[in-house]
Symmetry: C2
Subunit: 663 residues, 2 copies
């Protein structure tokens, strides 16, 4: 896709001359399950997640008077694309965005560093790190996708714009169903000064660095605001700099630039190093103009010319790294009711492209937990894991960013006079490569908790790390021979996935491990599926079981599989044919090889609704699985009355197996 | 994507509870460049193509009162997906549709053929045939994409529904600009009986088997209506037939079934063989009910059960193969003004899944030609190539279909009594495989004409057949190291593409072949780009030149390339960085190996706006290229006045090359 050729234009590039209007409901409801404050990436990810649940009521409010149209974040890490796939729009983002394939490094050249020369090039995303690309796209276009999902979801949500939170109060009465009272002021001219009052079960502050919600729960941001000023500009420019369509880290004697090519083939973002501020000096005091930004960029880029034709957006900022100790209002282990996510609890420099990504992962982590508790499915303790898991991630990010930002702003080491100090360009490049996994977002690793098991059986699937995101690999679906990515079966629908990787000889027959485990899950009174699936709901509505066999698909029979793997669902009892896969890769190693899965023993891999591996267990550890999930779920009206079916089902399955093998 | 679990629902599956309304303009304009009659696949493809040209006015009318919602065609061949990529929505279709990966064959089993057994399985799309899958999706969803493109295009088009053509008259006065007068009757209750009169330069009848436009130009359909009756039904069913999610060709002693699994994981289409009709008997005389269809399917499927829970759509038909001799109104070589496409000029059985695909290719062939003539770019003779090219394709289709349908309806040969005749299942399967390329739509081969060159230099790119569609392969873009499909650069924008495949050592330097050719194209007075690009238009607006080098991208310099390959475009003169590629494949052979391109000599490949290879020439055959295009284009106000730039440009390019190599 190419666009912006004749000037930057915000919005969907495939829609010409169409102005989209936000659906603006008029009045915020009086009572709601979840109030989200802020329509940034964190808030919208959460709203999109909650809109999947028809029984959960959610409102989202925003200070601005309409959706974001341009500027701000643009980096979309591989891990974020994996999450977008769960929301169903990774393909659209990949189609529209710029793909970061290589990063180039430039350093001072000439005798006195009077011009820049290319210092090196590295592949941007390490081979095998993710099946998804690293993409650059205007944040507003990500918002558009979430708004579309929200507006068209089972429980449609449209934001309430031009609303400011005035006050938040929490009732200490434990019998109150909606203990948080939020006072909201309307700030659009037509409703200026009108006040709305809303009572919520939960409130989530995704309202940025100056978060009102954070202030309301009294959580300070710790850290410091550095005094290095930076400028950022999105421009249409003519230049003879040859790497303007590469991500380019440029170190010159005049300062540093980071070039981020943008979607559409013409737009470019420049991060430009400006001067050091004096202590306590504010960036706004400098009155830096766009002309100064451009002039600085031109000096740094010498001998190349930069002729800026149009500035789509620009800004100046100082780097600071600040972090909250806790991302909720819980005191003394009490049950949290108010949460904060994204910039509300961690701020840092934008150049590593982490802010938007980490913020969205924050609320993807929180969304399914809120839904599970609000649905009466999971214990309220689950909510405490949000702060525990995400605060640790933010801490790592802040540490990384401090180091990265310092390295970026440091003087380049003079090869002829290393005593002057500074950073060797080669060292900077090595650091950059080393941190590739971190910035791709695939290194997040949660610690042991009620939703993250122990490591005893980690060796059964050495390449699927417990506590880390499920790393997808291709498989072939038995029922229709379609090659697909197993990880893409994990949709953002609040369900847990249990992947059963079969041992080498297992073909689903009644005396083998997969069959025994499926039989346990369907029939045993200790089965988490029997205990936690609501009566009348589809068998896979809480825990979705899929099996991956090592046999060729032509040697397996779908009608010989345990009935849990071809369940009858919905009002007609139609069979779901998308539960069984084969480890056939058309080219290269199969999923067992790629992910180090024990070919002889097989294993089960339990994956959380946010795509993180919760546990890995042997196929015969059904009671361990049950025990682990007993720590998460709340028992409810069961499928017990169906157990009378069990012996006849067993007989039928054995017969079906024999019929399947005869063919 | 899964859907339809709790009942079939037409429309976009990712939109819940949203009713889409067609934009209904009220009155058809009085004068128009092109009137399209019929909102089927052929009509909408043409409208979508023409909507890309802001200076061309198009209206499309339809007898029905709203867009199609369900039923009818569902097969989308690989070649059609390649075309959808040119229109920008192949990804959405691939995401939503069912992918045909394997076809299974079933035959009579048991001693007397009293039940069916599996006879064989074949991969559906041969390896390397296309980078696109073979997809099944409700025709209405394809319509939706076209309607979206049309509504949001540079020249938006919304259909006029509930309109019937009453009369078509052509003026014989050659000085009349809009010689066709069409009388249209409105048939919706609110406007019943109102008559509109419209004058058009061109009329295209995409109005189906009973085409009024075809009748108006007096072109009869030749052929015969066979007496074999078939039923078709889209159902939600519970069955123990194990291959219900495979495309399955079933031959039993009770008749034949073709199963086509459908999008969403639950819906299935059955084509069911019914009885022979008596001579002159009409299918409607039989009053066949859906219950009869289901009962027949149940008999054929024995020993498997079929429990139909819901019927989304069904119909009965007889197979017939009929064809027009000519697809336009031209008599005695006169310039055509009225065209017919799709079912209006060729009808056949639906089971080979060809109808919708061939119809769309018809109007994709016509669209750019109409646009080129209406833009004053191409000679009017171009319009005669539509009928010549597409009638030949339809003839092949009809012949194929007659053979395929006969084979499908024939008795299965009894292995114990072959003297009874019939078709051997193994023979049927072999035939099916052999015809895979044909049904994929990739075998279409146009004969020599003003837009299809001679074969003298075919050997320079043995795998890119002149007259056949440009067979894509992956390349790497120099300016940003992105791996992409070269064929996907061919968008449905009416432009010609000239791909320059460089010889092994060529890196764009001033003394080598690519540079010389680019210099000719930019500067020489015989250059088709100089002669046919309108003044003030971007240099690539008529012929879009791209180069593919064999050198590694790290050994090439974008700023050392001829300026034609990094042209300054648009109001700002921004550089287009998407013209240069490298033949680097991450895995497997590169495009030179895949497509048999002469590594030493290189070559140029000229591709028409509909993705067909027009010509292959040596890199030094610039005058042959010019001569070929002189046969198509009309000379107009030129870039001549810019030729004074030429010598300084030459110097600048040489300098740039040297600078690029220094780095």
């Amino acid at each position: 896709m190419q666009f912006h050729l004749n000037g930057f234009k915000a919005g969907n590039p495939s829609i010409a001359d169409v102005v989209r209007m936000a659906d603006q409901s008029d009045v915020v409801p009086k009572e709601i399950d979840v109030l989200i404050v802020g329509c940034g990436p964190a808030g919208l990810t959460l709203a999109a997640q909650l809109s999947a649940f028809p029984h959960i009521s959610t409102a989202i409010i925003e200070v601005k008077d309409s959706p974001l149209k341009l500027g701000q974040a643009d980096g979309i890490a591989c891990r974020t694309m994996e999450m977008f796939e769960a929301f169903g729009f990774a393909g659209e983002i990949a189609k529209e965005g710029y793909w970061v394939n290589e990063t180039v490094f430039w350093k001072p050249g000439g005798t006195g560093g009077e011009f820049i020369i290319r210092a090196g090039r590295v592949q941007d995303v390490e081979d095998g790190l993710s099946e998804m690309p690293h993409v650059i796209l205007n944040q507003a276009r990500v918002h558009d996708r979430y708004l579309h999902i929200m507006a068209n979801a089972p429980r449609p949500i449209n934001p309430y714009y031009a609303r400011r939170v005035k006050g938040i109060e929490k009732s200490s009465d434990p019998t109150v169903s909606h203990p948080i009272t939020v006072t909201i002021e309307r700030i659009d001219p037509a409703h200026q000064g009108q006040v709305e009052t809303l009572r919520a079960r939960y409130v989530v502050g995704c309202d940025g660095a100056h978060s009102v919600v954070r202030q309301a729960i009294g959580r300070p941001l710790h850290g410091d605001s550095a005094n290095q000023a930076w400028g950022v500009m999105d421009v249409l420019a003519v230049t003879d700099f040859p790497d303007v369509r590469y991500k380019a880290a440029i170190q010159s004697t005049e300062g540093s630039i980071l070039i981020i090519p943008r979607e559409g083939g013409y737009l470019t973002r420049f991060y430009i190093e400006l001067e050091q501020l004096a202590e306590h000096e504010r960036i706004t005091d400098r009155n830096i103009s766009i002309d100064q930004l451009i002039a600085t960029a031109q000096r740094i880029l010498r001998p190349y010319k930069l002729d800026v034709k149009e500035v789509a957006w620009w800004s100046c900022y100082v780097i600071g790294q600040r972090l909250c100790d806790r991302f909720d209002d819980s005191v003394d282990g009490e049950y949290p009711r108010i949460f904060i996510g994204g910039d509300a609890c961690h701020t840092h420099s934008p150049k590593a492209g982490q802010g938007m990504n980490v913020s969205m992962q924050d609320s993807f982590n929180l969304g399914w937990k809120l839904a599970a508790v609000l649905s009466g499915q999971a214990k309220t303790e689950l909510l405490a894991t949000y702060s525990a898991e995400r605060q640790a991630v933010a801490k790592e990010l802040i540490d990384f960013d401090r180091e990265f930002a310092a390295m970026f702003s440091a003087q380049t080491k003079h090869t002829d006079d290393p005593a002057q100090g500074g950073v060797d360009p080669a060292e900077f490049q090595r650091y950059f490569v080393k941190q590739g996994r971190f910035t791709a977002g695939t290194q997040t690793s949660y610690r042991k908790s009620m939703i993250r098991g122990h490591d005893k059986w980690q060796n059964l699937a050495a390449g699927l790390k417990i506590g880390m995101r499920f790393h997808s690999a291709p498989v072939l679906r038995l029922a229709d021979a379609r090659l697909l990515h197993l990880g893409h079966e994990i949709k953002a629908d609040g369900r847990w996935r249990l992947f059963l990787f079969a041992g080498a000889q297992d073909d689903g027959r009644p005396d083998a491990a997969i069959w025994h485990l499926c039989h346990f899950l369907l029939e045993d009174q200790n089965s988490p599926i029997r205990k936690y699936t609501p009566e009348g709901a589809d068998i896979d509505s809480v825990i979705d079981v899929r099996a991956i066999f090592q046999r060729n698909h032509r040697d397996l029979a779908i009608d010989a599989m345990p009935s849990l793997l071809r369940p009858a669902k919905g009002k007609y009892g139609l069979h779901d044919y998308e539960k069984v896969f084969c480890a056939e890769a058309r080219n290269g190693p199969d999923i067992f090889a790629e992910r180090g899965i024990d070919r002889q023993a097989g294993c089960m891999v339990l994956v959380r609704p946010d795509q993180y591996v919760a546990h890995i267990l042997p196929l015969d550890a059904s009671l361990d699985l049950a025990e682990f999930l007993d720590g998460v779920f709340i028992e409810r009206d069961l499928l017990r009355e169906t157990s009378k079916r069990s012996s006849s089902d067993l007989h039928e399955q054995s017969q079906a197996y024999l019929r399947g093998k005869e063919r």
